[in-house]
Symmetry: C2
């Protein structure tokens, strides 16, 4: 029987990160990664296969990332905790000293009639399946996307670049509403509409209809939308069957329960990424946040803690960014709505300015920023922005300020740096100005 110091189940973001970090931190005799996929997709790159990249092959994570870890392409079917052994569908058995479960998630499929019809696609991180989706879409002319979260919006923005009429159906009042406050959602929706996407909100899908292939979508209000393809992007559910079968505890959000060191209810087994329970930095409650950047962070923490409790998890801040058309959107921490829903008394402020200075510099885009502060403590709870391509790093700056426990005064007095071709002016810098407004309002 094979023996390994560390076995990692799953080869996507969390699994790869765990393999990398393990090799950096320890001199282990053997690290084994077991995954069922022949090749691994960049998870967040999947929507971009369909438009911008044009090819699945451009969205592959090379196996060389695994370094000296041994890769077994097979599916783990059981864990024997007593003997510390995993067994695969192919009959392989590997004994582990430590085990990291990074089994990911599978797309949710809504319980509506017609889901079994041809050309109705959920989006698993599976190259073989995605190749089929891409091939099927190439001959379609009416695509309906169920769900207006990040996946839905990104698919819509990419597929509208193909020769297709694209409709998004979102049950909530707005697309992206779980990540952004209303005004930013509306901007994103307007951008989608201006580029030709039909955006329907506050309306669910009652059923999918067709002979063998989907032909039309029936909405809750009776509206009928022609469709020769449907993409379902309503979220994911943690892949926990293996853990459950092994008797590991499952949490409130249906992920594998872990402690602050990413350890499961078995002290030799850790879990990270979409399959693991994630808790919120602010509320300390379990939250269904499934993002590649959370997965890799959890994998980093789990791996650092394999043999000693060194890096406790402070919880997920929740940091998102996306692009709709040419406009970037981002959020870190709590939106105003989420903060108010959590019962917090907040001060929310805004500042807008070009992201170059003077605004006449080439490449300048307007950046609008909103910050949310706790009125009682003055601490920054969240930030959102819409603007140019630096919005992604703006999200990370916001996340750093939040993670540091910064107050409105700290942020208003923050020592930033600026450059005409790269940032807003130091006078107009949006995050600092929004914080200053909050400071004045909070007195």
């Amino acid at each position: 029987m094979r023996q390994a110091d560390l076995v990692i189940v799953g080869g996507s973001a969390a699994g790869i990160e765990a393999a990398i970090v393990a090799q950096r931190h320890y001199e282990l005799d053997k690290v084994v990664v077991i995954r069922k996929e022949d090749s691994v997709m960049v998870p967040c790159g999947i929507p971009y296969i369909f438009g911008t990249l044009g090819s699945i092959d451009k969205n592959v994570m090379p196996d060389s990332l695994l370094g000296d870890a041994e890769l077994i392409k097979d599916e783990v079917t059981s864990i024997d905790r007593a003997s510390q052994t995993v067994t695969t569908a192919g009959g392989e058995a590997v004994k582990y000293k430590r085990l990291i479960l990074a089994s990911g998630s599978q797309p949710l499929r809504p319980p509506i009639p017609g889901m079994q019809l041809d050309n109705v696609f959920a989006i698993p991180k599976d190259a073989v399946y995605l190749r089929e989706v891409q091939s099927a879409l190439s001959s379609c002319s009416n695509l309906v996307i169920i769900g207006g979260g990040f996946i839905g919006v990104e698919f819509a923005d990419e597929c509208r670049k193909l020769d297709m009429k694209v409709t998004i159906v979102e049950m909530l009042d707005h697309c992206l509403m779980l990540a952004l406050d209303e005004q930013f959602c509306c901007t994103a929706e307007n951008n989608l509409r201006e580029s030709g996407v039909n955006v329907i909100t506050g309306n669910g899908v009652r059923a999918l209809h067709g002979q063998s292939r989907v032909e039309w979508v029936e909405l809750q209000d009776g509206t009928r939308i022609e469709a020769d393809a449907v993409i379902v992007g309503i979220g994911v559910s943690p892949a926990t069957k293996l853990a459950q079968d092994a008797g590991l505890e499952i949490g409130a959000q249906r992920g594998i329960q872990v402690d602050a060191y990413m350890r499961t209810s078995d002290s030799q087994i850790f879990a990270a990424g979409d399959c693991a329970e994630t808790f919120c930095y602010f509320t300390r409650k379990a939250v269904p946040l499934r993002l590649a950047a959370i997965a890799t962070r959890e994998a980093r923490l789990a791996t650092m803690n394999l043999f000693e409790d060194v890096a406790p998890n402070q919880g997920a801040v929740g940091v998102f960014s996306t692009v709709v058309g040419d406009t970037g959107f981002c959020a870190a921490g709590l939106t105003e709505k989420r903060a108010r829903d959590a019962g917090l008394d907040v001060i929310a402020t805004e500042a807008a300015a070009p992201d170059r200075h003077p605004g006449t510099m080439p490449g300048a885009s307007g950046q609008k920023t909103k910050l949310v502060f706790d009125r009682e403590t003055g601490k920054m709870l969240g930030g959102q922005a819409t603007g140019g391509t630096s919005t992604g790093e703006t999200a990370n700056l916001m996340a750093a300020l939040i993670s540091a426990g910064s107050t409105a005064r700290d942020v208003a007095c923050f020592q930033l740096g600026t450059h005409p071709a790269l940032t807003a002016s130091p006078i107009a810098y949006q995050i600092v100005n929004a914080a200053e407004h909050a400071l004045v309002r909070g007195r």
Copy 2:
């Protein structure tokens, strides 16, 4: 005689910021800004007038930024501290309750023969003078720039876009050496050379020669460079004459001495920006850091502290960014060299990756990042990067991590967010990976 709650002397970055912040924070009867310039340049935009912007008019800060503050275009010639009155060259006298000195700096002129020749330009923030420079340069074919700091490098990169042969002469071993470690300086120099700029380092200017107009530049080693125009970019000296005449204390770096609340030796008078003494966040020692983003921060602090000590200055972290060709460069905090020169035992690490993911996404540039940590405390002392247009916000993220007192472990476990079209992948994110290397090396 006019009376004002607040008089601000100087109308550039610090003066404008003080006027804005004063009106946000207080309900003052009257705020007066007195400046000698008819219109004010975006200070950091000045090099870009000559190439990218093409026009001085595109680089003006509108007076509307001053809001309801009264603007007097005149030069303050004296301060009578006993009567709390400033007097201008035009004979105006204004009584103040609080005074903020934001008188800026003037360009240094090296004590070398030939500086009085025609077509030898220092670069003051003066639209009238800059118009003359621009007009003179338009008929020149050989430009020599003395000084390879940010100003020199930015002027070189802009002027090489004109029909001119451009030479930089830098006395130190490398351009940008006060802000960046050697490897980043070399990259910047290579970019300049590839775009046709003649970069001479480790060599000073001995004299400028010519009849009435400069004709050639003589270097320390005897080299002779043809020149029909010379730009001097060797730094600035604080404009403190007014303060000195009024008997205010002057500091070790020749700026107006201020306390942690930006108050001068007169409790009713504050100073901010290039004219004020700045101290280093790390060493607590006076440093000759003169940057617009430091000036505006000091102005914000000074204004918040006008009537009550509320926002102490923690010192300047020093956050820079620039662009050479299409490549961004940035630094926050201490370089490895500066940290070692300050006697610190440091761990310096690097990580490089595309700033999009997968790297096949359009617009992807490689970003190389270097971080510097204190071996004893584990705290982040500095960061540098070279890459695409998000480098400017990368500097700010580094500054936030430094200001928060983050250790290598904090940074390695930092909750970032990523997106294919906006950032590196969560596995390859440069700052986190460099921190992780430091964590391993520091054990």
